[in-house]
Symmetry: C2
Subunit: 161 residues, 2 copies
Amino acid sequence: MDRGPLPTRVDQVDLDVLENTLSFYIRVLDVAVSRDLDERLQGFEVARGKWKITALLLIDNHPGIRPSVLAEIAFKDRSAMGRILDQFEVHGLITRRVSAEDGRAQELYITEKGSALAAKVRSIVVQQSKDFFDRIIPPAEQDVVIDVLKRAYHRLREIQE
Amino acid sequence: MDRGPLPTRVDQVDLDVLENTLSFYIRVLDVAVSRDLDERLQGFEVARGKWKITALLLIDNHPGIRPSVLAEIAFKDRSAMGRILDQFEVHGLITRRVSAEDGRAQELYITEKGSALAAKVRSIVVQQSKDFFDRIIPPAEQDVVIDVLKRAYHRLREIQE
DNA sequence: TATTGTTATACTCTATAACTATA
DNA sequence: TATAGTTATAGAGTATAACAATA
């Protein structure tokens, strides 16, 4: 079967069935946007890794939130989230208290340092997403995609509960 | 500042600025869809890791394709792609030949075993994406998202060349 | 001097299971 | 017996730099 010249350049390559497979685009765009975000967060305690940002912002915004709730939101198990929280504690970003209502559970609270970091991270994350996607998706279409994916995420949360 | 009862349940939590940040949805959906896909590919040589599938299908579909082209498509560096190709070779899925035109470059070819695997993987990947997203995004909206993200991906490729 | 691919390394994430303390 | 969180570990991906061979 002749397929033409050897594919030595990217523009000679088609993506096979991946061309119309949504999971491919989610996965490849995740790599690109996550790498770009990590670059912008270099030097901050939340750089690298997907869930530190989410954990920090939610602890800042929801004093007393539990580790298990964070884990569920991030589709992670408790042990992985626990390690992130260990790091946060070491860096003085949060404190952990045993819940008065349930001796097994913890309540997470942001520190002053953590709150200051959350404020910075909040603006960086929003700006990064905007800057990154503005280069490759027209704003009106971004709104459409966010709308669809937002509902997809919440639907997925319902299914997996 | 009173924010109501302690957030002990997921539905009491809002996502802060992430609620309207596209990168968050790309990142969280990537985790979920990738995990689901890995489960379906258990036992196959391409399970785990994001780029084995892409590499295998493209080598199958583009005989003679170069490692550096694969790396570029996947936004990965050559060393990471090289290690995936090492695995493929060990498993007898591909062969590598030095290019006749350029002694530095390699040409990659699928083996019979690799081609058989590619055929299986092709159908699994397509079906998995469909099954996964059909549960959380109406088909018509999936088409819209694919259309937008496809252009975003190709635009990103252009920018990064 | 630049490019293709390899090797080495250090870091991180992932998945799993076993464990404790409490309910 | 189930749940919240911890600890330990093995496997894999990621990022970076240095390297050899070729252009």
